[in-house]
Subunit: 253 residues, 2 copies
């Protein structure tokens, strides 16, 4: 019995600058059915506010309180543990850390800084970690589809670089960290075992959620999905469907 739904954003609700057909209606159906939803994304190049504006511009009915980002998980972690952030993130994401402490011991927070990954910033983060600062990673994705249509290096490569130099393993806060899925479920007031995850990434979205204990994992054949992705991951998806519309149909049945 599914009592809550986690939905990835890019590749599930939209691709590039266009909402996917039936995405808006699928979200409306979930709301009409009274099923709580959280949108979970590893995108860390823009603030939550900018993300919401983008979704609304695409005609997608997404409420601010339903978007759950790794930056938010990091802010919660920093507040709970008593650290100020040493940020190595895209400038577009920095405002999401505006309410964090600025004094006291620092924890390194690494996101997809893109072109802002340079030697000086990486080495400053390395020295902080080597000096004992906790090391938090908002994401550890290997690659992403860049604006020119080619794959480019994602945050995970730079996590690997800092781990290699420092000998310290990063604590991953985004997908597929079990704690991230659990926190998203908890924010809906339901057990992760009663939650279904819908995503286009067979590994980080679907297998990740199932491994963390989600009740279901539905892989959509949109976005970054490639034929046979479901056979290359463990655990296998609960279901593989055409798109978000079919995923919601399946969950509501």
């Amino acid at each position: 019995m599914i009592k809550g739904v986690l939905i990835d954003l890019s590749g599930v609700l939209y691709v590039g600058d266009a909402a996917l057909p039936g995405a808006a209606e699928a979200l409306e159906r979930l709301e009409a059915a009274g099923l709580p939803v959280r949108f979970v994304t590893n995108t860390t190049r823009k603030t939550k506010a900018a993300l919401l504006a983008q979704l609304r511009g695409l005609g997608l009915p997404v409420a601010a309180e339903d978007v759950f980002t790794p930056a938010q998980a990091a802010c919660d972690w920093l507040a709970a543990e008593g650290y100020a952030p040493h940020l190595l993130v895209h400038p577009g994401l920095e405002p999401d850390f505006a309410d964090c402490a600025t004094e006291g011991p620092k924890a390194v927070v690494l996101g997809d800084a893109g072109e802002f990954f340079d030697y000086a910033r990486l080495n400053a983060a390395f020295r902080a970690i080597a000096g004992g600062a906790p090391f938090l990673a908002l994401a550890a994705n290997r690659v992403f589809k860049d604006a020119d249509g080619e794959l480019s290096m994602d945050a995970g490569a730079f996590v690997a670089a800092l781990e290699y130099a420092s000998g310290v393993k990063a604590e991953l806060l985004g997908k597929p960290a079990p704690a991230f899925f659990a926190a998203a479920a908890a924010s809906m007031g339901v057990e992760l075992a009663q939650v279904a995850m819908i995503g286009d990434d067979a590994e980080a979205d679907v297998a990740g959620a199932l491994a963390a204990g989600a009740g279901g994992g539905v892989l959509v054949r949109t976005g970054k999905y490639r034929e046979g992705d479901e056979t290359r991951v463990s655990p296998r998806p609960t279901a593989v469907v055409e798109d978000i519309a079919e995923a919601v149909e399946l969950i509501l049945r």
Copy 2:
């Protein structure tokens, strides 16, 4: 019976801007004894010519043909395999690749580019590797002692980043790659089993050479040596001595 000697440079013959006491005399003793020598270094921020000028400025009698660098190993590899280099190295090292092919398929060659490691250069190398270019690493050191006395990220961190993003393992050409030690021995016309390596890095120099099949590995207590380094590596050094003078004394006895 030792018939050839491999010697690391920084930390063994000199530290910073000063030759170590007895280093020049030790090299003269080896030459007088007719023992062939190769100087092997993972330093990849300057050309071999610049390195030689530095050594001579320190009063160290080092012949050009006795210096064996990973850049040279890379040039040999590129010529043998029929590739042109896609360089991600420090500009100071680029002249060492001046004689390489410029046309034809490319192989990525990564060295310690220092501040020249930026997102655009790393991503260009990633795309080449993802597109099938062989991936050669001149070194895979984790950290080095920087000009300000603190540790900084070395080439190995960026090798790790590219390996993580591409899923391709780099072929290491510098120490402690067995092929590097073997090629240095071969260039002296002796078997590696008849060669002794002298270094201040218990892992990359001494254990690396022994693991590759060197007849002896002598660790000196100068440079980056820290008390107890010899107990943290496998295989253990054949001998641990004060400095290059004592190492040569031992080998000639």
